[in-house]
Structures are given as C-alpha cells and as structure tokens.
Symmetry: C2
Subunit: 389 residues, 2 copies
C-alpha cells in the first residue's frame, strides 16, 4: 500500500502533503486514509504547524498497533530498545557483551532485557508486533540465520527466530548489523538520499550499502565486507588468512594494540598512565590523549584514519556514493579521526568521485543499530500484513 | 508500457509466454497486444518451436519501426553498427581510431561510417529512430556530454548530440562505454542476472555496474572508475597523480611497456622477434608468445592478471556480484590472462563472496559495445515515445 509506505518513510505528514507526494487527488487520498484509519493502521495525532490556513492533521502509523523491538548485537556490546510504530525510542538499554560466548548466553540476556524494557513502557510480550535483530556477521536474510560468521562461529546456522518464538508471537527479522545501520539512516533521511554508504568501524569493519534507494545485500548476502580489503601488501596477517586487511590494521583492536605498544615502549606518558589507571586502552582513551597533546596518540589516529581512508578511496572510486557515514566504537576517538579519513580519501580518490562527496559520522550515532533494527521490524511487519510493497 | 518493456528485454516471445510473465489474463494480454500491433510497435513474425499444441506466434518489436545506430568510441578504436529494433546487427564496421584527435575528427568519421553502413542495409537517415554512443570517459547522462574526461580532454563539454543533429532527426543518447557494455550484457541475459559487473581492460580500465537489475551510474555519474584503485603503494606514478593505480600497472599500455622492456633487455626472443616484425607489441602478441612457451611473456600475463585480480578482490568483497565479465582489448591475450585474474581474486576475496562467483570474458565480445549502444538507443527511444517506463 503506497500511502502507508509513504507515511512510514516520511515519518508522518499531513493529508494534503501525502496526496501531493503520491500524485493522488484530494478525494482519493481522503478515501484511502479513511480506510487505513478504519483498519487501525493510521491515526491522526496532534496538529502540524500551520502554513497559513486551517491546521492540517498529522497522519502517523497508529501507535495502538503495538510496539517493535530493535536489538543490536555487536561483537562486544548489546543494545535493546522498544520503539513505537513511528520509531520513537520508548526505552533503550546498552551494555557490554561478548558475542563469542554463543547464542545461548547472549540471547538469554536479550530475553531478560526485552522483558524489563517492555515492563518499563507498561507493555507486555503480546504488544510486540515485530522484532528486528542486527548481528555482526553475514546473514542469509531469507532464513534469518548467520552464515559462516568469522567473529562468532557458535552462531553458524543457529535459529534466532525459533529461540525468540518461545516468548513472542511476533515475526523476527535478522540482518547484518551494518545493513541495519544503513536502513536506519535511510529512514532518518526519509529516503532523500539514494546512493550512500555506512561504515561501521568497531571490533571489525563492515559497510552498509544503499543503492537506488534500497539496502543492497549482494548476490550471496555478503556485500559490504570491506574489512578484508587489502591496504598493505606487506601488512600483518589477518584471521581471514590474507595479509594487510584494513580490519587487522585499523579496527578497534588494532588501535588498542598500537596504543598499548606505545605505552609499553615509553613513547607516550598519557597512554601509559591510561593503561595503569584503567587496565586497558580503548578508542576513546586514545582520542582523549590526542586532544591533550599526546603525539603518539595523534600518530595512531592518523595512521588508522589514513588506512580506513585508503580502503574507502577504492570503494568511492567504484561506487561513487553521495555520502559516507561512519559509525561504530571507533567514532569515540572524536573529530581528529574523521579528519584523517577525509584527508586520505580526498587524496586518493578521483576528483569527480569526491567533488560532491560528504564524509560524516553517522547522525543516528550509538542508537543507529537499534533504530535500524526497529525500521526493519516495522517495515517487514507492514509487508507481512500485506499493506506495504 | 509493461508489455512492450518485457518484449524488449526478453527479445520477443509468445503471446501466452508474455501473458504468463506479466501475470495478465489471456484476454487482457490479447487486447494489449492488438493495440500495440495496431500502433505499429509490435509485430508477430515467424513461428516459435511448438511445445505440443498449436504453434504460438512470436511477438517482436516491429522491424518496420526503423533501425537504431550503435556507436562505440574507444580510446584507440571505433565501432559503428546498424541494428534492428530487436538488436540484430544488420551491418557493423570496426576500425582503428585515436580519440585524442578530438570530436571533430572522430565524429566526422562516424558520420561517414553511418552513411555507408545505412546504405549497405538499404536504409537512409530518415529510417534511424535512435542513436546510442559509448565514449571512454565519465558522462553526464542527462545532458549527454563528457565531464573532465582524462583520456580525451578535447571532448570536455562538447555536444555530440548537436553535432549529429545536423544529419539525423533521431534522439542521441551518450553514455560511458563500459556502462553500455553492461547494458548490452543485461539485455543478452534477458535480465536474468541482477547484480553483476563488466570490466573493460583496454587503454584504460573501467567497470560497468548492474545493481538491482539496472545499470548503476553513481551519485555523480562516475561509478565504476576502478582504474585508479591502488594495488601497490610503491608502484609507478599514474597520470591521475597518485601512485600504483591498477590502470598504470596492468592496462594495455602497461602490457606493451613490459613486453618491449623484455624484448629490449634480451629476456624474450619471441617478443624481440615480434617487435622487429611488427614494429610494436600488443596484448595479442604477448598471448601468442606465451602460448608458444615464452617465459617472459607468461610472466607479464601473470603479473598483469594478478594485479587486476587484486583490484577485483576489493571490488568483489564490497559488491558481492554473482558474475564478473571481462572485456576490452586485453582479452586478446587469451585464456591464460583470465586464469591469472581468477586465481588472484579467489585467493584475495572472502570465501562467502566468491563461493558462487563466476569470472568470464564478456559473452558479447567485441560487439558488446555497439550492441550496448543499440540497447540504450532502442530503450530510450521507447521511453521517449512514452511506451516504456
């Protein structure tokens, strides 16, 4: 149903705006809207700011449809959120996790968090109309299972759907974490951009691709696996078997390794101090040290940013996106990392590919994963009910 | 018009087949077909092989609509063909050319060839219903002009449309050469593949991208500019300003340079003999020398194939295509080059990306450019007449 689809992607709007956007006559739009309101799918809530005449009603997906749950499983983090049908976050919890401990442990915790967050919103399992889950590995989207995930072997072929079916009647949709970040940004942008990339740089490095206005998953569902693009033929060996992969040289663990080396070699007082105080060093610490004037920290950031930029230069030459959004744990380094990435891309890519290219941190930030998961859940649920294409 | 579009892409078919493909009832399909036949757009010609019952009629685009002209301008070659509305090549001429001599010289020759080939088919300028042109540089598709083409600066902003308008009333469509090769393969495949790449390796290296079943041109029309992906941080400087671009290390001129060096250094009797006899060495000579057992020629092929494969590995990890088709002058080396490319890609890409990946030479071969240009001309002409979407 085109009108519902448009309402979903445009995050609501006036009757008049909808009709205009779809090229419908006022009377046709009114009839369709009346039908969807009668079915309980759309609701007219609140008033939009007036543009002069009578205040138009604001159409939205009907809040009383229920809620969706968005789950973002990272390699070392877990985010769960309850969202309204128009993707407002009603409750959200983020905590550390270890995906290597396997689906039993991680999903048991997901179950607990879902119950707590639903209770917090005064909702029950029966109110959940769709569940979206992002996982940090390649997914067969049709069957909702991970396929040979390098970071999480215990999850290979495990049915997340069956597991959650014990508590929830709602349909469960599983996708790669960075595909969901891309879907979330597409929704945030109200589909105003049609060709862009979302890079997640955390424990691993992945890329979500939006092409012709929809998320592109590739012939075998593994599109966007940019972490294993080679950036140094003489580089260190990666767990994938090849050498010089950007992931082994510039993802979170590489930043930590370089920082610990600098601390232990006596190259950086700030990083040594950090290691003593916290027992570890992460991207945020390196960013703080750099901002405090630490040269070694600054050097690490430049090196990592330059390598990410080198990989992105290849990808930008090939794909010519309008925007590249960068998210994931590494963004906690701060603006210096982004500057290093930009410099490297602009230096290595062709002028025509970068003339109008924007490189930014993901506007949805740390909530991008759960919002994307919510968008997937809501959109697929509308589709499953036969009301979205 | 969906039915006409389907007839175009499926290169004809039976009434029954069309109805089935489109999910139309027999009577609806018959009514639509009758309308299109009356408008002179479709014709029922010949008989398909029977599958048992009454022989179904074979629907095609009406041959009496006229002809299209496909023009493929390479850096050092020129191909012109006259094609029927269903893209059968009625006449074709291929010859050497030098795009650097500028649009005046090259297009004057195009004009002569068009006149000769049309006469050869017993057609005149008035029979031409569309003209498609592929050029070896970035194109602004909407205005049909080259934008900062590195190989052909004299063409920057030149209006090919206006030039041909003096002789032809038919609309003129201009696109990048390798985008047209991709469009040609999409047509040959009857759109049965939706995500694949076409690499042209000749004087330069470019890539045509088919994503979600349509040619993808990128945010600024420069998608597929893979020639300047870096494959060696210590490599030679490219005309683009960067170092180690795959184009400067593995395109036709690099093969020639390596072969001449081997001949002059006394490393290869076969290549030295070839240089004496022909005064130059090209990809085909290197292939022949290698097949005759020349180690230096073999080494050159391995080196170039490995570098192309290294670039492709990055692209395959990112895009996860089902097929990569390789065309252009370098294919004249023969099967050894393809084997070297494959080996390099399978070694460097992730298993999930290559498990079902096919790497082949372009099935349309040397005619791919003019057929692609013909597909563009015919499809855009149908669109311009308001009968295709």
């Amino acid at each position: 149903m085109q009108l519902l689809e448009t309402t979903f992607w445009s995050a609501g709007g006036s009757r008049h705006g909808m009709a205009e956007r779809l090229g419908f006559s006022k009377s046709k739009a009114n009839a369709l809207i009346a039908g969807l309101v009668a079915q309980g799918l759309l609701a007219e809530s609140g008033l939009q700011r007036s543009s002069g005449g009578r205040r138009p009603e604001n159409l939205q997906l009907n809040g009383s449809l229920g809620v969706v749950v968005g789950i973002d499983i990272g390699a070392t983090s877990l985010d769960v959120a309850v969202l309204s049908p128009d993707l407002a976050v009603l409750a959200h919890r983020a905590e550390a996790a270890d995906v290597k401990r396997g689906p039993g442990v991680v999903l048991a915790r997901v179950r607990v968090l879902m119950r707590e967050l639903l209770a917090q919103c005064g909702r029950s399992a029966r109110d959940v109309i769709g569940i979206g889950i992002g996982v940090p590995g390649p997914v067969n989207f049709e069957i909702g299972q991970l396929v040979n995930p390098p970071l999480m072997p215990a999850w290979d072929g495990f049915s997340i759907r069956d597991y959650l079916r014990e508590d929830y009647a709602a349909p469960v949709f599983v996708d790669n974490d960075v595909n969901l970040m891309a879907l979330g940004e597409l929704w945030r942008l109200q589909r105003s951009l049609t060709n862009f990339l979302v890079i997640k740089d955390g424990t691993g490095i992945g890329c979500g691709i939006v092409c012709h206005g929809v998320v592109y998953r590739g012939a075998a569902g593994s599109a966007g696996d940019v972490g294993h693009i080679c950036v140094d033929q003489e580089g260190p060996r990666c767990h994938c078997g090849n050498v010089g992969c950007v992931e082994v040289m510039a993802a979170g663990p590489a930043i930590t390794r370089m920082a610990v080396e600098a601390a232990e070699a006596g190259d950086s007082d700030a990083l040594a101090e950090c290691l003593r105080t916290h027992g570890h060093i992460d991207a945020q610490h390196v960013g703080e040290a750099s901002r405090a004037g630490d040269a070694a920290a600054n050097d690490i950031i430049q090196r990592a940013g330059s390598l990410i930029g080198q990989m992105l230069a290849s990808v930008v030459n090939f794909f010519n996106p309008s925007h590249v959004f960068i998210g994931g744990g590494i963004t906690r380094i701060g603006p210096l990392f982004l500057a290093a990435v930009r410099q490297s891309v602009y230096q290595r890519s062709l002028a025509l590919s970068t003339r109008h290219l924007e490189i930014q941190y993901t506007p949805l930030g740390a909530q991008g994963g759960v919002i994307g998961a919510g968008v997937l859940a809501m959109h697929e649920t509308l589709k499953a009910r036969g009301v979205a294409p």
